[in-house]
């Protein structure tokens, strides 16, 4: 394993996949366990945090969900909030795929795989959040078509399970194929992945639309029951997804010493600018409808922004989110945002946190407050919920780090001459 730890093993010109594929996997395994002190420290830290989360989850399964702060009134909490945000992150990666493959943006094409890797990590985290939210996780097999009873097509949750897993498989295939052919030093064949890339564009839209339908299809929850919900989900996904990818690219560029062109990130910034405006416009239109006509539907909005009958639990969250989103919008429109500046980084961090609140604490929780019988029961996550959540985030970052590391090594070692651009 010594010589192949970082360098690609020499392979015959036309390798047999039965031999070369295991070698690829073995090489990837050793690549993902070799690194600098900083790398080991980072991985050990993430593992430790993940273990804390795993322990908290095990306690939750054993003692019951009473250890969370969820109630019959607010029956979904931090887990589903993070789940919703993660779906957006996964869908946002498509904003690199569209310029790269539909508009043949050559430079974007070189880094598009990073967006797809982020999508993979995000979907894995989505699935973990759903499992964390189940009262009886050991019964998950009831959902497997064939041996369980899968309530498809009636239940939106079954659609979500399908599209999320489908998106995971598509992206695993695309990334796996590209890396493997690079590893072999070959040109990827367009027919083996371009159709899947095209499919992934529609699929990315579908995962977020279906997730929005999960909520907006519920007539008994006026706060969610709005036709604007799905478009708003998409708009905010196209802000948070690209913003996260910009941050990830910055880290990769510095840590792995890779030379990225700046143009892809700038394309992403321009996309964010538009999506951000659309998002704020739709938010404004929702607020107008909510408050101008008044009535019972305004109660949730009232609770969120100003507090209701002496309950103010979400007010600080909500205003933090609004301030962060507006600040991010302003920063993104500054010319410095198109340079490798701290403005850009600040803008990305602001809008990620802003949207994390907006899509989570600001969307899922208020759907339950006031309850369907207009009772107000407040919610704030318990320590166990925070531990599980942070544990899942750590796991997501862990696999993201490994995927980036392997990808970086493959690309560094076989700098394929610009051959991919001729696929279309």
């Amino acid at each position: 394993m010594s010589q192949d730890a970082a360098q690609l093993p020499l392979l015959p010109h036309r390798p047999r996949h039965v031999q070369s594929y295991p070698r690829f996997l073995w090489w990837a395994l050793s690549e993902s366990t070799n690194g600098s002190v900083a790398f080991y420290t980072w991985m050990v830290a993430l593992t430790a945090v993940f273990l804390v989360g795993a322990n908290a989850w095990a306690v939750q399964v054993a003692d019951g969900m009473i250890v969370t702060n969820m109630t019959d009134h607010v029956s979904w909490g931090l887990y589903i909030a993070n789940f919703t945000f993660m779906v957006g992150l996964a869908a946002g990666g498509v904003m690199m795929v569209i310029p790269a493959y539909l508009y043949h943006d050559k430079k974007m094409h070189d880094v598009v795989i990073l967006g797809e890797l982020v999508a993979i990590a995000a979907i894995v985290m989505c699935l973990m959040f759903v499992v964390a939210d189940l009262g009886r996780p050991e019964r998950f097999w009831h959902m497997i078509p064939g041996i369980g009873r899968f309530n498809w097509p009636m239940s939106m949750l079954t659609w979500d399970v399908l599209v999320l897993n489908g998106y995971l498989v598509i992206n695993l295939h695309i990334c796996g194929y590209l890396l493997y052919t690079r590893f072999l030093g070959r040109k990827p064949k367009a027919k083996w992945y371009v159709p899947f890339v095209m499919l992934s564009i529609f699929w990315a839209i579908s995962i977020h639309t279906v997730t929005a339908f999960l909520y907006c299809g519920l007539g008994g929850r006026p706060f969610w029951n709005s036709a604007l919900l799905a478009p708003r989900f998409l708009a905010s996904a196209f802000v948070s997804g690209p913003a996260f990818i910009i941050l990830a690219m910055r880290v990769v560029r510095i840590v792995m010493n890779l030379n990225f062109p700046i143009e892809p990130a700038n394309t992403l910034i321009r996309i964010i600018r538009v999506a951000m405006c659309v998002n704020l416009l739709m938010l404004g239109s929702e607020l107008f409808t909510l408050f101008y006509s008044g009535g019972g539907h305004a109660a949730t909005g009232q609770y969120l922004l100003f507090g209701l009958h002496g309950h103010y639990g979400l007010v600080p969250w909500m205003w933090t989110s609004i301030v962060l989103n507006i600040a991010a919008a302003i920063l993104f429109f500054m010319p410095a945002a198109l340079e490798r500046s701290s403005v850009r980084i600040a803008a990305c961090v602001f809008c990620i946190v802003g949207i994390w609140i907006e899509k989570g604490m600001g969307l899922i929780i208020p759907g339950f407050i006031p309850s369907t019988l207009h009772e107000i029961v407040e919610y704030s996550p318990s320590l166990i919920e925070w531990k599980v959540t942070i544990g899942i985030w750590a796991f997501g970052l862990l696999i993201l780090t490994l995927m980036f590391k392997i990808t970086g090594a493959v690309y560094r070692n076989s700098p394929v001459d610009d051959s991919e651009s001729d696929f279309a």
């Binding site: 010594s2 970082a6 095990a58 009886r136």
Partner: protein, 320 residues
């Protein structure tokens, strides 16, 4: 030769971290040790999960959906559940499986002029249905409403003063046994469904506890078992139905089932029997002679949140 492509930066720290400078066989060993340590730590972290094999028998884990159980399967399952009730709660119970009576469709109506908010129905519900005693659990919530308004926003479920108050009226809400039930539509595993007599039930041994139905129900009719219910042995109601009042497992959903273990045998729901004011009327909507049909014909009845299209089988009316 060892690390040909490590960049200089990490090469300089190599000496610092013993694992990097080791010959490859030693390094592999160290990695193996690291992996073993990691696995051990993971095992330790998820150790509390050991309670699953302790509490969930293989038979329970593999149990099929209620609708797929043959009569023999059911017998086995019920016996197992009875044994578990004995073991965990020290109570001798009988679990039965009353089937819907062909041609019957149950309906419920409440006379809001009579209801005075005394809450006896909630107590009876809790006792009849083996609710968790730690919390004041029941399938019924009684709203104290402001006279002159039907807006639930002005209602209050947590009143603790003497009733009735002059400026208030009282409105009990429980599962409306909707004919178009959103809770059933959304369930990803068909763990909840509508029976032929109109009662919406849950298979507590099939529900995965996702709580999607609880989000979907517009009437706050669903309850989740956030923990294993606690009931003193002498308070356990031994007359239990598989789809109704048997003691529910932790992590699953439950709801009002119109006391189907009683009503399918021709008895009245526990909440009706407990009501001291006679505000509650229960019966077969398909029987022209029943009280409930008389009410529907002769009173101006209404249903809650009609605009949602859930088509409740639960009605409200005032005297004249």
């Amino acid at each position: 030769m060892d690390e040909p492509s490590e960049d200089t930066k990490s090469a300089s720290v190599e000496e610092l971290l013993p694992i990097l400078g080791q010959p490859s066989s030693r390094r592999t060993m160290l990695k193996g040790a690291g992996a073993a340590l990691g696995l051990a730590a993971f095992g330790g972290a998820v150790w509390p999960l050991i309670s699953i094999p302790e509490n969930v028998s293989v038979d329970e884990f593999l149990q099929q959906h209620y609708k797929e159980l043959s009569d023999q399967d059911k017998e086995k399952v019920f016996t197992r559940l009875e044994e578990e009730a004995k073991e965990d709660y020290g109570a001798d119970v009988t679990i039965s499986d009353q089937l819907p009576i062909p041609g019957v469709k149950f309906g419920y109506a409440i006379n809001l002029s009579k209801c005075n908010g005394n809450g006896k129905c909630m107590e009876a519900c809790s006792e009849e249905n083996n609710h968790h005693r730690g919390v004041d659990q029941s399938y019924i919530r009684v709203l104290e409403m402001q006279k002159g308004s039907m807006n639930m926003e002005h209602g209050n479920t947590t009143y603790d003063h003497t009733v009735p108050q002059d400026d208030k009226f009282y409105m009990p809400v429980q599962c409306q046994q909707c004919d178009n039930p959103p809770c059933v539509t959304v369930c990803p595993v068909e763990a909840t469904w509508k029976e032929d007599d109109g009662i919406v039930v849950v298979d507590y041994n099939w529900c995965i506890g996702c709580r999607y139905c609880e989000a979907a129900c517009p009437y706050h009719a669903r309850r989740f078992n956030w923990e294993q219910p606690e009931i003193p042995a002498e308070e356990v109601n031994p007359d239990q139905g598989y789809l109704s009042n048997r003691i529910r497992p932790q992590g699953t959903m439950e709801k009002c089932h119109f006391c189907l273990h009683r009503t399918r045998e021709g008895r009245m729901p526990a909440c009706l029997e407990a009501c001291p004011t006679g505000a509650r009327v229960f019966g077969d909507l398909n029987d022209p002679e029943s009280d409930i049909v008389w009410i529907l014909k002769n009173k101006r009845v209404f249903v809650l949140k009609e605009e949602l299209g859930t088509k409740p089988s639960f009605f409200y009316f005032f005297d004249s």
